[in-house]
Symmetry: D2
Subunit: 346 residues, 4 copies
Amino acid sequence: MSGVLNVGLIGLGRLGSVYARNLAHRVPNARLVAVADRKADLREQFAAELGAVKVYESHLDLLQDKDVEAVVIITSTSTHKDVVMDAAACGKAIFCEKPMSLSLVSAYEMLHAVEKAGVFFHMAFQRRYDAGYLAAKKKVDDGVIGTPVVMTSISRDPFRPPLEFCDPKVSGGLIADMGVHDFDLGRMFMGEVATVHAIGGALAYPEMKSVGDIDNALIDMVFENGTLGSVQLSRNAVFGYDIRTEIWGTKGSLQIGYFQHTPILVMTQEGITHDVVPHFMQRFEGAYLTQIQDFVNRVTAGEPPSLTGADAIAAMRISLAATLSCHERRPVQVSEVDVPLHTIAG
Amino acid sequence: MSGVLNVGLIGLGRLGSVYARNLAHRVPNARLVAVADRKADLREQFAAELGAVKVYESHLDLLQDKDVEAVVIITSTSTHKDVVMDAAACGKAIFCEKPMSLSLVSAYEMLHAVEKAGVFFHMAFQRRYDAGYLAAKKKVDDGVIGTPVVMTSISRDPFRPPLEFCDPKVSGGLIADMGVHDFDLGRMFMGEVATVHAIGGALAYPEMKSVGDIDNALIDMVFENGTLGSVQLSRNAVFGYDIRTEIWGTKGSLQIGYFQHTPILVMTQEGITHDVVPHFMQRFEGAYLTQIQDFVNRVTAGEPPSLTGADAIAAMRISLAATLSCHERRPVQVSEVDVPLHTIAG
Amino acid sequence: MSGVLNVGLIGLGRLGSVYARNLAHRVPNARLVAVADRKADLREQFAAELGAVKVYESHLDLLQDKDVEAVVIITSTSTHKDVVMDAAACGKAIFCEKPMSLSLVSAYEMLHAVEKAGVFFHMAFQRRYDAGYLAAKKKVDDGVIGTPVVMTSISRDPFRPPLEFCDPKVSGGLIADMGVHDFDLGRMFMGEVATVHAIGGALAYPEMKSVGDIDNALIDMVFENGTLGSVQLSRNAVFGYDIRTEIWGTKGSLQIGYFQHTPILVMTQEGITHDVVPHFMQRFEGAYLTQIQDFVNRVTAGEPPSLTGADAIAAMRISLAATLSCHERRPVQVSEVDVPLHTIAG
Amino acid sequence: MSGVLNVGLIGLGRLGSVYARNLAHRVPNARLVAVADRKADLREQFAAELGAVKVYESHLDLLQDKDVEAVVIITSTSTHKDVVMDAAACGKAIFCEKPMSLSLVSAYEMLHAVEKAGVFFHMAFQRRYDAGYLAAKKKVDDGVIGTPVVMTSISRDPFRPPLEFCDPKVSGGLIADMGVHDFDLGRMFMGEVATVHAIGGALAYPEMKSVGDIDNALIDMVFENGTLGSVQLSRNAVFGYDIRTEIWGTKGSLQIGYFQHTPILVMTQEGITHDVVPHFMQRFEGAYLTQIQDFVNRVTAGEPPSLTGADAIAAMRISLAATLSCHERRPVQVSEVDVPLHTIAG
């Protein structure tokens, strides 16, 4: 493999287009050689914008392209299983945007397929590449706050998704869709989770009840080492994007996060006001770039992925246990959601 | 009753001495006429400092003093029941520092006694008098954040108490001792609590296990109206006193709290640093004064108390349910801790 | 002199009433025994509120009262000279609110009178007693920021005074009226001032030109030790009271000041907003109390005053030089404003 | 001219290398076709990193390259005049990093040359492209703060340059080298400057006196419309890079700037600490990219430059007048530094 990685990108939606532009312009050792999307207008727009890139309607055609060494999969979650398994069969290095899949069975099947094919498989969690979380992790590892004993993590979206997406059969529901990032941070900072307890409700958008989803949830976790975690999720951060994590230790604490977007304080008779980070793309723009750069670096260097399918499954198990807890109004052990091995194909 | 209230104060410990000085110097329509404490050195110190004040060893003698119209009780919690019932029997207006008592049975007996005697009875929760919480309450009532749907409340002490005080038989344990303020705020902002779930551990000070207490806890609450609450308690805020509440609403959010004590940013090669509020007295100095002023105003005006024994019992029930949840590792309905009526004396 | 100081207060205006209540309720070793004001309604209001206090129309009658050991003078600036000289003649300890007087000649005459009478004379600069400035001074003295090389001090009022007060013949003009506090801080942190240069204009309220005053000014200072200072003054801080000082040193910097009044962040679609300190009384309430306590303590202990007439004159000289600079559009040496000795009476 | 601009870059130093990478990877409609630098190691490093780019030792050879449509000049200031005039003679579109030159005569000669050649000429002031200043400008234009009446602008570097660079004959001295950005902001927000007054000294690094430079300066400005400006410059912001501007208006104020670099608060027994923006590249990384993108967009679209040589000269005149004021200890009219027309070659 040369020093430059030839990448094919599947899925040109909102987030996919960011990955496409990052790969085309901002990752020096990557070359975006092909894109695929079922929507003709998206394909045409990118063909015009990016010039020399090959354009496919079907991901299968892109996977057959010999120039494509690695694929970046940014399709809708329900297609992840098929596309990943196809890509594994074609021997491509794989970058897959979260969430891995909607069911644990599918996820185990994907993991099995990539392991069998022996291909590189990176499951995306962009927060792990954010400058704030990276610096916090280093400080924790350096002992600045002693031993972490409680993690508090807040993820609040500025508005609810369209109702059809809120359907738990599509998105997994609030806890799985949003919480998975916080559960992954829990694993990053505290360790594996033993039990969870969740409460929630459709409190800001009563219409969410019609599809069986909720808009606010609180999840408490006991980690295997006895430490504690609290996750707060919401769809009604009407003022902006509210992402905060606190690592509480025996010798101090780290607060990670910020609200202010442009560096301006407005001081008028209404008081002192500043704006807020509008949404995830503004908050994590740098992390998305750093993560895809890490993927390209590791594939070209022959190193193992930083984040694996096993990592994604571990976070997914917590999500599923928390969702179950919320439904059954009782604490749930994470191991309760495990899948009998015979149910996994392959 | 004249325009000035003659007050007797029982208990000259750390907090009692603050009340004594407030009553002597800073509440214009109060006159501190008598103090009582079992410790001779505290009595002598205040006699010297305050001049004309009468000094008693026994609270019973103070209660017999005809000059005393109202009593402020700042003794240790285990004595509250006896002192309050004695004061009620003497017909004094009563101000009682929280917590009301360690058992629900005692609390109901106290409530019964003051109701039977028909005396004024104020149960202290100073946070309700803090300028921040008052202004927040007004904004919530004005609809600034729409309908509140989640409350998050953090109370973290800068160090653990002496082990003998941590003993749940003395203090009620972490959840009852510290959380009662946050549970009261929950009632102030959200309504009555239906169920709680708590987790916790002796994570920062393992020696607390020897007395059966914990140093960190997370408590989730479902209010009767379906809204949610999260309370975080800790004894290891080694950097200072960490008190924050967030009221999360359908149209916005209020964050109440501050960390910085002196208004100085220090900018050196170590970064930008500021100090932190050291402890509760620095944080709530104004609230303690405002509360005792409210007590004096209401007694002299013949108005009912702002906070009653029923309020204290309501917060205590949540504390007890949360403590039970933490022990039994299950969600607990607040009504589970209720006391059979026949167990209450009087 | 007993351990409690009997104080008479002259001038029951807005600030005078704060001093009166502080002396009546919050300074344990002071007893407010008499007040004087020419306005009958103010006298009657305080007589009703404070009970046992004697009430005079003329300051001369108060000064004749043998019970009065010390006087606190909060009258209008134009009367300071006469009242202080009368009080000195009666042998009273004197606390005089800033500014000392409108002319340097008067100030020297006052200083001469109190020195000749040998009475205690404290000239008020409440910022020196603010917890922020005190803590900053200690840090500077401790070497936290190395050697101070630049001071920046901002004083901005939320609105302009009535035009009749803006008249420089009454108030001394913007630079003298407001800047004197910042010039005093310059002396506290950096040393004596050698030269000043000032610019300014009636930029926000053009009507101020009709009385010959300005509403915004910038003053640069070179201290005798070669270090630098910048003072910014304004009458149009329409959002609140804007008071900030920065001490810039060779090893770091201190920023002193804060904007937020109540500890609440309001997060709505308008952004994140907090309120602002409304005016000087809210900002410096504690400092006014600490300062008058210091006066009472020093008089009763027989110690010299913390701030003298010489201090007030030193700050006034800078004010006058800066005002002259602004008029003559040139740098001015502070010594240029000095008064020939033969012009001073006494 | 095609939709993609072929750019040659002259000068591969620290800032030049940032421009080179931006042009190579992050400006979609630019192609970096050639670079020139006198240092062989820098040329070789970029040849290896950037692959297809042509590499020249002399800027004259690069200017002869027919593939080069536009040049980006990031050489040392003393060479700007020759390189710009050579580029103008070759008919290239020109982007020139600030400062334009060290003497006003040279600057006028450059301006004359580019006007005569009729080439596109952009003089860089990256702060004008910073998201904070752009948003502030929009708010001011929208009337959010009423009419601006005072601008305060602080520029403080984290350390002093090597002494040989401090020599005013090389850098122009502190006021010209650093202040030019703030003077340009003054023009952006307030208008043209009428008079300046400056004070300064070698207060933190006495060794600067040996080369005739200073390390701290305060400059006051009166704008032609009568409004006021204050600029504070320092070389000893030992904690990081301190860049702040305040626009003070009749109806409110805007504070532009931020200190915190990574979004982490560290809370330990030392207090609450956060880091600081280390230097200009971290602070203005986005602005450098936005500015060069604007240059490429305007050249390819045939639009006039956003910032011209006349803009650079206007800011330079203020710098020179302020430097003169500092030397002569008197207010200086900006027009005093104007150059007689017959002294300008061309």
